[in-house]
């Protein structure tokens, strides 16, 4: 596909502007930073209102208890998690940096011992943590947005920083329609971000609490998420809505034998008695020490929540005989797998596109902030790149189809969405071919699709917008054929 072409163009633009701004230290530092970032792994920010479960989700994705990071004076800091040879951290404030801070695991989160003399107002903590899951992505755990009790009064500035630092965003909220989404709705918009729309997945976290914590809460939450996914207003804000029970996902990935050992005897208690015991957190904590000590029960509650304990005991009773089975069941039900798949499809597979988007945003910022002779030409070049890149056109068509701005007959709409890569960007997914399909088969499918859509593009019954959509699909088909031929 022409993906490399877009990346080349963006790379060229960045280098050109670096030459132009060579004498401005601020601008060239910024551009160099972005050149470097272009090569780095994808940055995914995890943000949302207070107590939405940001750190829990970080742990669930990493698969280890690494968040939150406990360090003094860092209420406002972005915490970066990246792959590294050994656990260590770097602390950055606005003016100075401290490197190689030892990191120790404290129960379920990380503890840092900053050396004396570390500045008080840290704004970035970069944690290197050896794990396979961070090989292709960098996770950024952000402070809560829109919370009056954090140091920054305006949640907007956090969203600004998120928009600047991250290539993609997981926005966490307890419920989809509501004030918790205000920060997302008010996210900054620039010409580039309009042309290359949303890079956000909305995560309905704490799905286990839906409906007062019934055992089927997760199913209900998934249904809610599905309904919101189809909602036009949600589509304008995010690319996908996914319900995740963060605590259960984390527990599923980080549960060890001691916890299983504590849960097993609980599950063995007679049903009615257990129901009574798990009726409320108070009852669970206030019970006698016959099956587990208070400390163990407290630990279980902290790790799983009362709903999680209920689910785990039910699962064990239903036959999850060992830790592995229980963990995988919890994982499956938590919705984490769905989230990871969505991250893969929407973020990781479109890494080049998202990187290009971030770089273009950065370039747009520099050109806007420091206009000078020659920057006009670059701005025009930037606009041409943004408007001309087929990937962005595909993204725009996706957004238009999702939001219902452009409508096609339903069968065509499904095919168009598939062909422009809404379900996945590799050729066989786009063409709905088998995994094992040969190149020749794909070629046949591709040419057939191309012919069909060429006709649609000329269909006199279609409106202008519909013909435009069909032309975009044609261009996608041509791109696929070019890729197959090459």
């Amino acid at each position: 596909m022409s993906g490399t072409r877009l990346e080349d163009q963006v790379w060229g633009l960045l280098n050109e502007s670096l030459t132009l701004y060579g004498d401005s230290p601020r601008a060239s530092r910024w551009l160099q930073h972005h050149l470097q970032r272009f090569e780095e792994p994808l940055r995914i920010a995890i943000t949302g209102p207070p107590q939405a479960g940001k750190s829990t989700l970080v742990n669930a994705i990493v698969g280890e208890g690494v968040a939150p990071v406990e360090v003094d004076g860092a209420a406002d800091a972005f915490v970066w998690y990246q792959d590294g040879a050994q656990p260590r951290a770097a602390l950055h404030s606005a003016h100075e940096s401290v490197h190689d801070v030892p990191v120790s695991r404290l129960d379920r989160w990380l503890h840092l011992d900053p050396p004396p003399g570390t500045p008080e107002d840290l704004n970035e903590i970069v944690v290197d943590w050896p794990t396979r899951t961070l090989r292709h992505t960098i996770l950024i755990d952000t402070p809560a947005v829109g919370a009056s009790n954090t140091a920054t009064p305006a949640g907007q500035s956090i969203m600004d920083r998120v928009a600047r630092e991250a290539d993609a965003v997981l926005y966490l909220a307890r419920r989809a329609p509501g004030t918790e989404l205000n920060a997302l709705r008010l996210a900054p918009e620039t010409p580039v971000s309009r042309f290359a729309p949303v890079n956000t997945i909305l995560v309905l976290s704490r799905a286990d609490e839906v409906g007062g914590g019934r055992v089927d809460a997760l199913l209900a939450a998934k249904q809610i998420a599905r309904r919101h996914r189809r909602d036009v207003r949600m589509r304008a804000l995010c690319q996908n809505v996914i319900a995740v029970a963060g605590l259960m996902a984390e527990a599923g990935r980080t549960m060890r034998e001691p916890q299983y050992a504590a849960l097993a005897p609980l599950a063995a208690i007679e049903r009615s008695q257990l129901d009574e015991l798990l009726l409320s957190t108070d009852r669970f904590l206030g019970a006698s020490d016959t099956v587990a000590t208070l400390a163990v029960r407290q630990d279980l509650l902290n790790r799983l929540g009362i709903v999680g304990v209920r689910l785990a005991t039910t699962l064990i009773r239903q036959g999850c005989g060992d830790l592995g089975a229980l963990a995988s069941q919890l994982m499956r039900r938590s919705g984490l797998a769905e989230l990871r798949e969505s991250i893969r499809q929407l973020f990781v597979e479109r890494r080049g596109l998202l990187k290009a988007r971030s770089a273009l945003l950065a370039l747009e910022f520099v050109l806007g902030a420091e206009p000078r002779p020659g920057s006009d030409r670059l701005a025009a070049e930037l606009e041409r790149t943004v408007a001309g890149a087929h990937e962005f056109r595909e993204l725009r068509l996706m957004a238009a189809l999702r939001s219902g701005r452009t409508r096609l007959p339903s069968a065509l709409e499904t095919e168009a969405q598939r062909l422009i890569g809404m379900e996945g960007t590799d050729v066989s997914t786009r063409l709905a071919a088998d995994e094992q399909a040969t190149g020749a088969q794909l070629w046949t499918l591709g040419t057939q699709a191309l012919d069909r859509w060429l006709e649609h593009a000329e269909n006199p019954l279609f409106s202008h917008a519909q013909q435009g959509a069909a032309r975009t699909v044609v261009r996608s088909c041509e791109g696929m054929l070019a890729e197959l031929a090459g």
Binding site: S148, P177, G178, G213, L301, I306
Partner: protein, 606 residues
Amino acid sequence: MVPLWLDVLDDTIRACAAQSRADLVHQLQQKRAQLLDPKLRVLVVGEAGQGKSQLINAMLNAPVCAVGDDSTTTVPSVIQHADAPCAALVTGPTAVPDRDAAATERVAVPIEQLASGVSGAGKFHRAEIGIPRELLTAGLVLIDTPGLDAGWATGGGLDAAWVGHTDAVLLVSDANRLLSDVELAFLAYAVRTCPQVIVALSKIDIATQWRRTAEQNRERLADAGIPATVIPVSATLRLRAARTNDRKLNAESGFPELVARLQHDLRTKSESLAPHTARTIAGTVVEQLCVPLRARRFALDGALVSGAASELSEAQRQLDDLRRLSTRWQNSLSDQISDLSSDIEHDLRDRTRRIMRRVDEVFDAADPGAVWETFRPWLEENLVEAAEANFGWLVDRSNWIAEKIAASFPGYRHSIIPESTFQIGHDLFDGVADLERPNIGRFTFTQKVYTGLRGSYGGVVMFGLATSLAGLPLINVVSLGAGALFGGKSLKDEGESRLLRRQGLAKAAVQRHVEDFFLSFSKDCKDVTRQVQRKLRDHFAALAEDLQESILESARTAKQVADRDLSERDRHDRELQRELEDLRRLHDRANALAVVPATTTKAVAA
């Protein structure tokens, strides 16, 4: 006896009416009627999905409100006691039950239908549900509402007007999280009209650290100055307790405390809640009334400066200017006039002198006797010309002086010097004697003969004697020739000396005449100049007087206006002050209503 709070409320209503705040009057009258009503209306509010409907269901132990996983409640439901379960959907001009609102349409529906969700939410404003419950018999009315933030999702959130129609607000908030800013903002708004606020922390059965959350919420409420009671509850436990008839579990659910609180409020509504509410709302309303009054008083202070006072000071300034001006123009006038008269005299002198020089030249060459007749008109003409030029200059200068002085007067009108000033009043040469012909004796023939003979005599004798020595007779050709020569010579000499004398005479005569003319005309000019000076002085003095008079007049008017304004302003100010004072007293009286020490409200600052 009329309770004190009702008195205060009525006074507040009257104050609102006095300030033409019909909106507040309407609002307060409704509140008054509602406070007198023995029922206790409790508005159950909160963000969507906090378990408001479930809380009501659990409290009543009946599935009266629809409960679902996502924003389920779409219209407010008013739940009160009825002998048999009944339900109705209501449309009307306003969403809020309003006593005055007409054209309300009610559609009776089975109560089960409501419990499974209201359809056609856009059409109906509210549901009314009646169920037989002991808890409700005493007059408790519960109002279930859509989420505070539901407006975005469903197109119709909670109508703020409901807050004005309740006795108590019950905010339901999930115990899994702290109170959000939206909730705090809503409470801060609600306590201004409805001071009885309870925060129910729901879902404490699944919240791990609800005790800490409750504590932090209490702190946040206290920080925000909201006098709310925080009661942690669990609807799940309450419903289960009702099913299993488990008293202990019921106690654990936290509902007994909530119900007791509501019942206490209901019982003591007239003694405690009503005065308390009246006090808060009177305070709020009085503050609202004070704002425009204070603004008006503030505006009054600034108004005087821009009005009559500025006119007064302007008049004063003009008067000062005029006073400075009058000394200046008088000095300037006298200086200019003395310059003028010396200049004019010098000019006239110069002109006559030039004429005299011409006369001298003429009479050096010509014989006055021969040219006199042509000379006389020439002289007259030249003198008249000189006089006219001189006089014209005088007029020009005078006009220039007049203009120059006039220019220093503000608002000067042109052509103020009357033309008659420059009339000399008599003929130019009246005072001058006619140029008399000098006495020039004619050189008569007899005189010439005599002179010739006298001259020739000497020659004849002289040469006769000399030639007689040579023997010639005394009278001979030579002596006769010499006699003729001498005679001719003396005749010529005589003629020349006579001419010289005539010329001298003529010059002297002309000089005398010119001198006379000069004297007489320069006297006239001086007269005219003095006249001009007098006239200009009189004119400008009159002008200055006029100006002064008009300025004084305007100053007097301005002062009158200013005085009137001032007294008007004072009157207005006193009026506003009195009104503010009345409102302050009302506020004090409202504050004095605090009869229940248990539910103290943060006093609203005056």
